[in-house]
Amino acid sequence: MENHAANHAVDIDRQIRGYMVVFVALLAMTAITVGVSYLHLEVRHAVAVALVIACFKASLVVLFFMHLISERHVIFVILAFTVAFFLVLMILPILTNLDHVRI
């Protein structure tokens, strides 16, 4: 029992060190996103850079702060359905506007 409690404490300490690494990474990527915006890139390039960094930041939050990295199968099933419908929601308006995009 004592062994289990000690292992749990070590595990939590390891997770906390991970949170600090993720924290620094999130701040660094925010700085990069803002720094790139001062380059005043063409819209399509700016969108690509900003969204790639934002997706990476969001992944870090979901995986580590929301513990998805160690989550159960059923949560992944829920998220898979959600992501599929979310992508449809994003792609449909882009497809319907492809013939007259102004960016």
Binding site: M66, H67, H73, I75, F86, H100
Partner: protein
């Protein structure tokens, strides 16, 4: 309490999760679709507009960057509040939970400064499509911050009662679930910030 709602402290055998956690993830799925509808609207409006300002022309980028840092920091204090409970350290939980609520308040104060600055420059939702989208999306996000502060504030204030009543696992699970919502609010801002301030 366990008799009223099953599996709130112990995980179900089939899913391996408490009912509360599945409920919160399903709620977040609906929230993703809600914000998804607004992002889809943004895409339609922007692609169809003759003129659309670059974010940095209309917004105060340093203030937006500061707010991003504030919200990221609040996500760390939120997860540290949960970790403190896991380490059976109630005092640290109260410190981190209080810090999370305080950082949420700082975020809203900065947003208030930004909004009033826009209003002084006669920039209202009716002024342009960009501003209509900006105020709608950031306003909806701010409502989520307020709701998250209310939930976290509740656990900050009542955490000791849970702890002393022996409902420790119940408190740990509920703080983790509250954290899931708070981190979601952070993720929404991670996308809103570049979309509305930098592109």
């Amino acid at each position: 309490m366990e008799g009223l709602i099953p599996y709130i402290t112990e995980p179900r055998e089939d899913t391996g999760l408490t009912n509360g956690k599945i409920g919160v993830w399903l709620f977040l799925a609906s929230e993703i679709m809600l914000f998804g509808a607004f992002f889809a609207t943004y895409i339609v409006m922007r692609l169809g507009a003759d003129v659309w300002p670059r974010g940095w022309e209309a917004q105060n980028v340093p203030l937006g960057t500061l707010n991003t840092a504030v919200l990221i920091t609040s996500s760390v204090t939120m997860v540290m509040a949960w970790a403190s409970l896991e380490r059976a350290d109630l005092k640290k939980f109260q410190m981190f939970a209080g810090a999370t609520v305080a950082l949420g308040f700082v975020f809203l104060c900065i947003k208030y400064v930004e909004y009033t600055s826009h209003f002084h420059e006669n920039m209202y939702p009716r002024t342009s499509t960009y501003l209509a989208v900006y105020f709608t999306m950031t306003g909806l996000h701010a409502l989520h911050v307020i709701f998250g502060m209310a939930v976290n504030g509740y656990f900050w204030l009542t955490g000791r009662s849970y702890w002393e009543a022996g409902d420790r696992q119940l408190l740990i699970n509920r703080v983790e679930n509250a954290g899931l919502f708070w981190h979601f609010v952070d993720i929404v801002w991670i996308f809103l910030f570049p979309v509305l301030y930098l592109l």
